[in-house]
Amino acid sequence: MALLMGTKLGMTRVFDDNGVSTPVTVIEIGSCVVTQIRDEDKDGYSAVQIAYGDMKPRNSTIPMIGHDAKAGSDAKRFHREFRCTSKEAGEYELGQSLTVASLADVAYVDVIGTSKGKGFQGGIKRHNFKGQQATHGVERKHRSPGSIGGHALNAGKSGRLKKGKKMAGQMGNVRITTRSLDVVRIDEERGLLLVKGPVPGHNKAMVQIRPAIRLNRSKTKKLASAE
């Protein structure tokens, strides 16, 4: 299982028997439908496309309705692909339904979402700049970023700034991956997944879930000791 899609519902807390409170995010994973299987010969790469989220057919487009209908599915809102080897792709079949049950023996997941948009923000909020002093002669520049470097610095050639220089600009509303979140509970009956801690995006936002692809040392150790 390499990818699932779901809806972030909100957060709550869960107590264990020792009284330890765990903050959890509730993610609803409805059934994801396999809508296409890409293969090397035809598409040049192998991958599996899944679709999630009901929508009215009149809000979809005729090509997309036809695409979903090929898999025997109603019109779906979101379509995402995940790459895999052609052998793995062969294990999926068109129209197959993937549910939260496929995460049953997964201890850690990555959750991918679109973070909340904060609009155009200055350097202090966006990059944690310190700003200037409140007094000592600073006038009307208290939240400005300060010097952004001159042409003599190692910041690109010909007097230009290096790309990626931290400045004011759009903050949020970007794709964020939160890695290695603990799976706290799985409710197969209602298709709910509880992961520890926050995930990007607002409530009711679409998030993508995959088994964690890389763990840090302590989590790897924990996983090994559990086995």
């Binding site: 107590f15 020792n18 009284g19 509730v26 709910l192 509880l194 009711k204």
Partner: protein, 130 residues
């Protein structure tokens, strides 16, 4: 089922149903579980309930008492498994929802009047408020 109801239903089993009716100003006994290694015991913390906030699983209580002339406040999630039991000892008359002003009170003025309205608590009676 709305989203909020769905999230609350996740904790429906963990919510306590045996809590007494208690309000801010009441003197209560909190039977707190204390785990020391393999052993477990119950410690009773008696004090005035000075704050109760939050809803459902997030409901918190703050209980204040005086130990050796030193004010001590303990805050618990009301549904925490670390609370074995809560008893109401005395009903106090509070006209605020948060009794933080008790922190500044010394001596007799620290006491609250018994509740004038509703049922007064007497030992052995169920602590139900009309």
């Amino acid at each position: 089922m709305s989203t909020q109801q769905l999230i609350e239903s996740l904790n429906a089993d963990a919510l306590k149903t045996d809590l007494p009716v208690m309000g801010v100003g009441d003197t209560i006994n909190v039977h707190a579980r204390i785990i020391e290694g393999a052993k477990e015991r119950v410690q009773i913390f008696q004090g005035v309930l000075i704050s109760r906030k939050g809803r459902g699983m997030n409901e918190m209580i703050c209980v204040r008492r005086i130990v050796d002339n030193q004010g001590v406040e303990r805050i618990w999630p009301i549904n925490s498994p670390m609370i074995a039991k809560i008893e109401v000892v005395r009903r106090g008359d509070a006209r605020r929802s948060k009794l933080y002003y008790l922190r500044d009170r010394v001596g007799k003025s620290r006491r609250l009047r018994d509740q004038r309205r509703g049922l007064k608590h007497t030992a052995g009676q169920p602590t139900v408020q009309k």
